[in-house]
């Protein structure tokens, strides 16, 4: 019952933008008809602005009234003068409303700390952006949020920087969610962010990594696409840019990089899922990363995360010619995949993009590798087609956990093999 009354007050408050600071709710006990009449007199005094939740009826029936702060003195004096008993039900209506608002929000699942955040479910863009802010607030010494650009539709593009100091240290880059429908990747990115803050200072191997290198993590690399998968089409892959001369929307951000751009392995049809765009870096989501990488100048490992197929891939996608570092990349991949499998037995294959998955031009790690970032890898996470993009949320954490082991392998190798 209280809930209903509170709710109506809240509703009124929200709609009317009133505040109820200092307002009290009194319960009045009337013993006889005379007292009932006296309270009815009170009701008629409009200037008091009384709000009767339960109006005067008959002797023995309690009367509940919300009294605005300016009228409290007058009402109490009146009741006391006429010997009418009352108790204070609510000392301060506003405090109660604030408390309830907090509870409502909490029960909706909006976490206030990264400890209460639910990592085993898929989240909206807003929830992930809130998470980012909370994580930064909880770990101000370790984590900072950088905005590297704005999406086509004007959404901020954020990168988390994990650093223990130094000046432009050699860095590891990880991105998730470049293809928006690959939901397990953004969800894993969120988990990685938390994991980093937990393990630094706790796990010796990881602490060594972060003591010497920085980590950049872009969790929602394609925010427009991601918002679209929530609002309209769960299986949307591309950006949401408009292409002049076409009714079709979006460019494949993993065909838009300046490496073999436009060659076989991408489509020139704007309606295609692998449309490469009108020119390299036409997509602001891609350009923002390109600019960041170029400006930073000291990124040593670049890992772009996709799903699904359970693969660990290195360059190239646009040509069959093997990269100069093929043997080393192959070795690192072998170790990384073994580390991944050690947790739950999940089997990954590894190799170059063009041999393991298909010919693909203008893809991310082909560009980063050509820029001199030797340890350039792409992951395709769980599964192998049973659920595909619609991976059950129960698999988020196991996927993130096993992938993290592979990432650690790559990061450690990068640390131990400076170049």
């Amino acid at each position: 019952m209280w809930g209903l009354l509170i709710f109506s007050v809240l509703l009124g408050g929200v709609l009317g933008k009133e505040d109820f600071v200092g307002h009290q709710v009194l319960r009045i006990s009337v013993d006889d008809e005379a007292q009932v009449q006296k309270v009815k007199e009170l009701e008629d005094l409009e200037h008091l602005q009384l709000d009767f939740w339960r109006g005067p009826a008959r002797p023995g029936s309690p009367i509940d009234v919300r009294v605005p702060f300016p009228s409290i003195q007058a009402v109490k004096v009146f009741l006391e003068a006429h010997g009418i008993r009352y108790t204070i039900m609510i000392e301060d209506v506003q405090s109660l409303l604030d408390e309830e608002q907090e509870q409502m929000v909490a029960s909706q699942g909006r976490a206030r700390t990264t400890s209460t955040f639910n990592y085993a479910t898929y989240h909206t863009l807003e929830e992930i952006y809130d998470f980012i802010d909370i994580l930064v607030a909880e770990n101000p010494q370790l984590v900072s949020k950088l905005q590297i650009g704005s999406s086509y539709e004007g959404r901020p593009i954020y990168v988390l920087k994990f650093s223990t100091g130094g000046n432009n240290r050699p860095a590891i880059w990880i991105d998730t969610g470049i293809h928006s429908r690959e939901w397990v990747t953004q969800a894993s990115g969120v988990w990685f962010a938390k994991k980093i803050t937990q393990d630094y200072g706790q796990d010796p191997a990881f602490t060594a990594i972060l003591d010497n290198m920085d980590i950049f993590l872009e969790i929602v690399t394609n925010p427009d696409g991601f918002a679209f998968t929530h609002s309209t089409n769960r299986l949307w892959r591309k950006t949401r840019s408009l292409t002049s001369g076409s009714v079709c929307v979006g460019v494949d951000p993993n065909r838009n990089w300046d490496a073999g751009f436009g060659k076989a392995g991408a489509s020139s049809n704007p309606c295609s899922e692998t449309y490469h765009g009108k020119f390299p870096n036409s997509e602001v989501e891609v350009k923002s990363i390109v600019d960041f990488v170029n400006d930073h100048g000291n990124i040593k490992a670049f890992i772009s995360i996709h799903s699904y197929s359970q693969l660990l891939l290195y360059p190239y996608g646009y040509k069959t010619e093997a990269p100069a570092d093929k043997d080393e990349l192959d070795q690192v991949s072998k170790s990384a995949v073994a580390a991944l499998a050690s947790l739950y037995g999940t089997k990954f294959q590894y190799g170059s993009i063009i041999t393991k998955i298909y010919e693909a031009s203008g893809s991310t790690i082909d560009w980063t590798y050509n820029q001199g970032i030797k340890y350039s890898f792409t992951f395709e996470l769980r599964d192998t087609g049973r659920y595909g993009f619609l991976l059950p949320a129960s698999q988020i954490i196991p996927t993130a956990q096993e992938t993290w082991l592979a990432l650690l392998t790559i990061m450690e190798h990068t640390l131990n093999h400076p170049y």
Binding site: T121, T232, L235, V247, G250, N269, K356, R386, A393
Partner: protein, 290 residues
Amino acid sequence: MQPCGQSLFAPRPGNRPPATRLLALLLLLALQGAAAAPAGSRTPEDSEWCQDAELPQGLLLQAARAALHFFNFRAGSPSALRVLAEVQEGSAWINQRKERKVDLVFTTELYSTEEAKARLGKCSARVFFRNEKPRPAVNVTCTQLIERQKRQEEDYQLYRHMKQLNTPLDVVSIPDSHGHIDPSLRPIWDLAFLGSSYVMWEKTTQFLHYYVSQLSSVKQWKTNDDAIDFDYTVLLHEFSTQEIIPCRIHLVWYPGKPLKVKYHCQELQTPEASGTEDGSAVAPIELSNF
């Protein structure tokens, strides 16, 4: 069968399967009762073919996928659907029309089981990827994963559940965005997958393969006659194009009887297309030849 000569390909060291494996394969095919190959399939002349030692990347996987879709369709058993575990061995032949014939052995798991140590079934198959009629011709035999009686019982159980379901016409999206399938709706999903197997078999080529992403709508679910009459749309995910292909499928199923399927898949929108839908959105389908 000789390795491909210079007229077709540069000579390479052969990669012949050992005689014992070939023999085993031949025996298996001979022991098969009614031929599993669809009527009207061409048996290629031996002299047309030469051994394709190059084995293009992923060809064995493509063949395994085609074979498995066909197997699932022919078995007609929504409780015993299989997924690919691993390709173990295989070899291929190519002819002058660049059609390929693949012999292979692969392992399978049950689709419905997600245990880490799931029991593996073993299949051997011959898959013929043709040019003019793109549907691959398949001969496949698999070891038993579920005892036949048990499988029949489980199919019948599924059938009974289906008969009891309220018409799920308002059902949209199985699985939902979070990958969840309501247990009560699982039989619908299994049957939708079975029907999709027919479609995916027909559409699999040397270069394209498919997975079922989602059951996006149910047009009709009739159970008042003996058979289940199911009219629905699935979204197929196509590799390597990454396209999402909506396919309208109409099937009729009764446990133990061959599955009857008709379908129509939406084509990719061309750049000149008019209209308001996005390239890969789920747009209404015209069923002119349904």
